[in-house]
């Protein structure tokens, strides 16, 4: 267990009647980038807040570096860095003043503080912004400043809550380069996201839906171990094809990707290609059907029942199981 940075068992948090996080078990290895993938409201933020001692679990336990939270929160705090979803540094202080402030809060002595500030200013390309007020920075610059601030004291564990949600694609790529560099240096990183491409870059991934952990593993293995057959349908009438397919029992979910559809079919189905063709034909739609290997989005859809039509998780609760034993749970948004 000594190589685990975080161990959580049965971690649960309720707000009144709402179960925000529902008995989550987690083991997050040291020195890796661990992703939380899930839609809004799936419990990512609440879980992260429990893992840095900001919220008290309603049930279950969370240990960081072997220390119990929230009891030992104060002992854990100097060793972790938490980057909030919303920019939480001082907008009326300059870039340098913010870093200086964080350095002092973490009791860094003058010499080390100066050294670390210089190195982070350079590393996150903020040299020429030092004297600029943080409030006037762009989304990408703010996020770089937040990362510079949270890594200033060289924490062993970084908790990043949707760090790239307000950032352009180029900044996202740069940001991830930065994360890999940190991980290489031995920092454990827990990052939540709702971007598939980001989830794909994590060493390990947990998929959360409605507060529950529905799938966990290495992203590539998650894709290859998916318990469903994925077919791709190319058609010029995707909406109609989709409507037809969704009314069939063995189809679990249908996701539209431009002019193509990803159709997820129960594993036990005989000759799924033929069956899908038949459904399309009877629906009066022409299309080319082809078996493809699952991508992470398919894993996500299979695990959460989130079928890509509207950005809402399924309401009927059938999404919970990550082994899809249950028969005809075609998911409606």
């Amino acid at each position: 267990m000594s190589d685990a940075a975080i161990v959580a068992a049965g971690l649960t948090r309720t707000f009144g009647k709402l179960i925000a996080v529902d008995s989550v078990d987690l083991t997050i290895p040291k020195g890796k980038i661990y992703g939380f993938l899930g839609p809004n409201g799936s419990g990512k933020t609440t879980t992260i807040r429990m893992l840095c001692g900001l919220l008290k679990p309603s049930a279950g336990s969370a240990r960081v570096f072997g220390m119990e939270l929230p009891r030992d929160a104060e002992k854990v705090r100097p060793r972790i860095g938490y980057m909030t979803q919303k920019f939480s540094l001082y907008e009326d202080l300059t870039v340098r003043e913010n870093l200086e402030f964080m350095g002092r809060i973490y009791s860094m002595r003058r010499r080390r503080r100066r050294q670390r500030i210089e190195s982070n200013l350079a590393r996150y390309a903020l040299d020429d912004r030092q004297r600029q007020r943080a409030g006037t920075l762009s989304g990408g610059q703010k996020q770089r400043l937040a990362l510079a601030a949270v890594t200033l004291h060289e924490p062993e564990l970084l908790l990043l809550d949707e760090p790239t949600s307000a950032v352009d694609p180029q900044s996202r790529r740069d940001f991830w380069d930065g994360l890999f560099e940190l991980a290489e240096g031995g920092t454990t990183i827990l990052v939540s996201t709702h971007f598939m491409d980001e989830a794909e870059r994590c060493h390990r991934l947990a998929i959360l839906a409605e507060g529950r952990l529905v799938a966990e593993g290495v992203p590539r293995e998650l894709s290859s171990n998916i318990d469903a057959v994925v077919l791709e349908v190319e058609t010029d009438r995707p909406r109609r094809a989709r409507a037809a397919l969704r009314s069939v029992g063995f189809v679990r979910a249908v996701t539209q990707i431009g002019a193509r559809l990803h159709v997820m079919v129960e594993t036990g189905t005989d000759d799924p290609e033929a069956q899908v063709r038949a459904v399309l034909k009877s629906g009066g739609v022409a299309g080319i059907v082809e078996r493809v290997s699952a991508n992470l989005e398919d894993v996500f859809v299979a695990a959460t029942g989130f079928d890509g039509d509207v950005a809402l998780p399924a309401a009927d609760g059938s999404a919970g199981a990550d082994e899809s034993g249950a028969g005809s749970d075609e998911v409606h948004p």
């Binding site: 900001l54 008290k56 009791s107």
Partner: protein, 365 residues
């Protein structure tokens, strides 16, 4: 028609938002209720029961009769006895009495000589209303006839201490230091924590190793400096424009102010742990300001208030600061002579600071 519809939309939204902010909603009822009660209790233009001390050097039947008559008027309560006028002056400087009655040894003879004042009324001029009320006492005719004395003129000669010209600036300016500090200090800190919460800074701050007490002390120290600057401004303007003297030690005055500033700041901090938004924090600060303004003795003489109002007043820091500041600035009292007030401020600071620190959680739930 569509104008009505749009206005209606705004009206409906305002009412909904208001009814969801429970603190604000409470204020709608609470503020008028509190204010009417406070005013009702505190305003008492027919002020009675001023604390008085007597130095009866005659100790004759006639002098005892005078004292009895004075007490019967209910304008003063005799709370202390002294031998000399000097002793009464000391008591007055310490704020123990606001009126002193000196009956000289030759009282009997003086009473019969209509041209000479028979006794002396020493009045604390540092409180504006006390001076007026004591004047009433001076004009009162006493029933000395019963003992066979007819006297056309008044019995008392009035000596107003500390502000003999009875200028209102002299009476108001020192106490104004307290009122201004109460308003600004409580407001500054009550908003200080909530602002960080509203802007999202707090979520970051509480995951760092900073401790509650460090955060609280760090928050109040800059404002202490600001408070002392405000004290200086008021004193300088009061002295330069309004000729308000500082009779006591300036060091004592600043020490007293420091204590009061700390008490007000920690009160603000404590309030800010109850508020969720800056708007709520400001309302709470206002709520804390009202009773202090009315019950502290700034607007109405403390002695004239009913016992319940006095009891509440004694819990408020401004009451004790006004006692200190009038004592030091106008009566030239030393801080050691005002220890009960100093102690009260110290206790108030410790309690509110402890509550603020305990109530502040480094958690979000």
């Amino acid at each position: 028609m569509s104008s009505l519809l749009r206005m209606g939309a705004i009206i409906g939204k305002e009412i909904r938002q208001l009814s969801r902010d429970r603190l604000t909603f409470g204020m709608i009822i609470g503020i008028p209720l509190l204010q009417i009660l406070l005013f009702g209790y505190a305003i008492n233009l027919d002020v009675r029961h001023l604390r008085a001390g007597v130095a009866d050097q005659a100790t004759t039947q006639l002098s005892r009769q005078l004292i009895a008559d004075v007490e019967a008027s209910q304008v003063v309560d005799i709370v202390a006895r002294a031998r000399t006028a000097g002793e009464l002056e000391d008591m007055m400087r310490r704020g123990e009495i606001t009126v002193g009655i000196v009956i000289p040894a030759d009282f009997e003879r003086r009473v019969r000589e209509a041209t000479r004042p028979a006794a002396q009324l020493l009045v604390d001029g540092s409180d504006p209303t006390v001076a007026n009320i004591a004047m009433r006492l001076a004009q009162m005719r006493f029933e000395l006839r019963k003992v066979g004395v007819e006297r056309p003129s008044t019995v008392f000669e009035v000596r107003t201490y500390y502000n003999p010209e009875r200028r209102s600036a002299v009476q108001i300016v020192p106490a104004l230091i307290g009122v201004i500090l109460t308003l600004t200090m409580v407001l500054f800190t009550s908003v200080a924590v909530v602002r960080e919460r509203e802007r999202g800074n707090l979520e970051l701050l509480i995951t760092t190793p900073i401790r509650n007490l460090e955060l609280m002390i760090g928050k109040i120290i800059p404002y202490i400096v600001i408070g002392l600057i405000q004290v200086t401004i008021i004193l300088l303007v009061g002295w330069y424009l309004f000729d308000v003297p500082v009779r006591g030690s300036v060091v004592d005055l600043y020490q007293g102010s420091l204590l009061f500033i700390a008490a007000s700041l920690s009160l603000g901090l404590m309030l800010s742990t109850f508020a969720k938004t800056q708007f709520q924090a400001m309302q709470l600060a206002f709520l804390a300001f009202l009773p202090q303004l009315l019950l502290s003795g700034f607007m109405f003489p403390f002695d004239g208030m009913p016992p319940l109002a006095q009891r509440i007043g004694r819990l408020l820091p401004l009451t004790h600061f006004i006692a200190i500041v009038r004592g030091v600035v106008l009566r030239g009292a030393a801080l050691e002579e005002l220890m009960p007030n100093v102690r009260a401020l110290g206790i108030f600071f410790l309690i509110t600071m402890t509550l603020a620190t305990l109530r502040f959680r480094k958690r979000l739930d």
